[in-house]
């Protein structure tokens, strides 16, 4: 066991990554209470095994690995339960919208509420969801993500690609259902400016019917 002072320093450093772990846990468990349990458990385990952390390596990745391993072992049961993504084929929102004459970028993505984007992420199978969390949300390199998930880099890349396709499909379905785009591809509402300010993704950007 480490000296108290060293232990406190370790804990303090580990806690600088709390938001990353909490966000990850929330997206994995879909439940704030379960997320807190999972994160607390992960921190206790990290403290217990701090000797196995190598100074100068990526502590965030190390902590995230502990957390997601706990999730799979304890909260999720068996890794085999994961349902792989249905074959979404080469359907992608971008191509779909372009074929239908809509301008996908500013006119669609900027109008989708943050909560809908989060819910599209939540609908991904967990093995794909965690790659999106690591690479897109937390900015992990493929190498760090591969290490965290204990898979080859090629697996990170293929899961990420499939996950993004699925995200586009979910968001397209939502855009059609909510009237942001009509199934025939014509956009509703005035075009948006495409700049820093309009890039804010929020509920108010969903036009009322």
């Amino acid at each position: 066991m480490a000296e108290p002072a060293a232990q406190t320093a370790f804990a303090e450093e580990a806690l600088t990554h709390l938001d990353t772990l909490y966000r990850g846990a929330l997206r994995l468990t879909h439940d704030p209470d379960a997320a807190q349990d999972l994160v607390q458990e992960a921190y206790l385990r990290a403290l217990r095994y701090q000797h196995s952390y190598q100074q100068g390596t990526n502590m965030k990745a190390w902590l995230f690995a502990i957390m997601r391993n706990l999730f799979w072992d304890r909260f999720k049961g068996s890794r085999k339960e994961d349902v792989s993504l249905d074959d979404v084929g080469e359907f992608v929102l971008y191509d779909k919208l372009r074929d239908e004459g809509a301008r996908p970028e500013a006119d669609v993505l900027d109008k989708i509420a943050a909560s809908e984007v989060v819910s599209a992420v939540d609908k991904l199978p967990p093995l794909h969801r965690e790659v999106v969390l690591l690479v897109d949300v937390e900015g992990f390199s493929y190498k760090d993500a591969a290490q965290t998930l204990a898979v080859p880099i090629g697996t990170v890349m293929s899961r990420l690609h499939r996950a993004r396709q699925q995200l586009q499909k979910s968001l397209f379905d939502y855009a059609v259902e909510s009237g942001i785009v009509r199934p025939d591809g014509m956009n509703e509402g005035p075009p948006r400016n495409h700049g820093e300010a309009s890039d804010f993704v929020g509920p108010r950007q969903v036009p009322q019917q």
């Binding site: 994160v39 921190y43 929102l93 900027d110 984007v117 992420v121 969390l133 949300v137 890349m157």
Partner: protein, 72 residues
Amino acid sequence: MRCEECSDKLDRFVDRELTNTEALEVQLHLEGCPDCMEHYDFQEHLKRVVKRSCDCDVAPTAFREKLRQILS
């Protein structure tokens, strides 16, 4: 570079995972190919939208304090 190769490398380009040389080649193709450029814009934007949307969740202050107590 052909569109097919550009499209193969798009994920890695968006994620800044290409070598400088590869990235430059993609960049050059994008500048001369409106189709691929639009595709790139969309992918890059999707990534930012996903990040921004998920970033809204942060650990509650009370939970942070509780952990600090437990861990010290």
